[in-house]
Symmetry: C2
């Protein structure tokens, strides 16, 4: 089992039992989630933005407009704290106090590296498409030179990284187990619904399909 080294900041001060530095677990959480929350100091004040992310090996990637203020700040060398959270359930205890959540989260401290090489940028953006829509990957139009120029791709080394995971039923105070209140877990999952056709795609293809 490969693990990340524990740093002063990734060392869990509380909730040790929920902490993990397991590389495989960290990667699985990163890969399952579609979005992360990227935090950094901007003009000495905090800023947290949601954005899509993807991973290759031990590096995390985000992309955005080259005009995005947070991206500009990160390119200038401000450190990021990137947090990814998958909510797995609501933990219903017998006491208000012991209610909790089941979740899997990852926290990454890292500075951004700007991907400048156009071919590398294109290769990395293709990896994002393979994550989001592998079955359509061969059909969609690749980014052109203008689009690549307008897109900033940032790379973060996964070095100062920790995961935090809670699973299982509530843990109540012993005397509360006698209370006549239901206890357990309400599972939560992010479900894909039935695909909604773009109206303009339907205009071009819908009728043919029905004939």
């Amino acid at each position: 089992m490969s693990t990340y080294p524990v740093s002063e900041r990734t060392k869990m001060k509380r909730g040790h039992k929920r902490a993990s530095y397991d590389v495989e677990l960290v990667h699985s959480i990163i890969d399952e989630a579609y979005i992360c929350h990227v935090g950094a100091k901007m003009m000495d004040r905090p800023m947290v933005q949601p954005t899509a992310h993807w991973r290759e090996g031990n590096k995390l990637y985000i992309h955005g407009s080259s005009k995005n203020g947070l991206f500009q700040t990160l390119i200038k060398g401000e450190e990021a704290c990137i947090t990814i959270t998958i909510l797995d359930g609501l933990v219903m205890a017998r006491s208000s106090f012991h209610h909790s959540a089941n979740y899997r989260s990852v926290m990454i401290f890292s500075k951004a590296k700007l991907i400048e090489n156009r071919d590398e940028k294109k290769r990395l953006l293709n990896l994002m498409m393979l994550k989001i829509t592998p079955e359509r990957f061969d059909e969609i139009r690749e980014p052109n030179a203008k689009e690549l120029k307008a897109t900033t791709v940032l790379e973060f080394d996964l070095v100062e990284v920790s995961a935090k995971v809670r699973t299982g039923p509530p843990v109540d105070d012993e005397e509360d187990y006698a209370l006549p209140v239901w206890a357990g877990v309400t599972p939560l999952t992010l479900e894909k619904g039935k695909a909604l056709d773009d109206p303009r795609w339907l205009d071009d293809h819908g009728k043919n399909d029905e004939e």
Copy 2:
């Protein structure tokens, strides 16, 4: 329609069409989401932690252990950026570049106010239970004095607030509409699954129920 005032930081520099300052919309996003991501400077470095939140009127609340480092930092007066994101779908375009996400997000800049009065703290924690588990609210054991002491509740005024929303189908470049690739939206929703009984609840009640 009541709206939040636009500040230097909540003014959208890009993506104006997605920006909203509508109070009702902001409140609805806050109320639907179970978790937020709280960012602040900690020892001059960024920190982003996920946590549960709830709302009353025009105030947002979070709670945690009184030993939590980020909470201590916020109590000392560091400003927070609190971001809430609901991912509604993956937007599948004809070109890689125009892929996007449908989402509703809220960003709040605010300093924390520590709730010190024990009765007020209890009242606010009860509001959280009413959000999470209204149908069990009358049955669960309320927090006792020791638990209230161990719990920190922080209040944030909703003043410097903005929402960002994307809905609808992809918007491709005109010439790409002729490409023979499906386009549309894959909806994503956070679904509640079948409740999982706590094994110890089942021990006490499960067999009786079946008799």
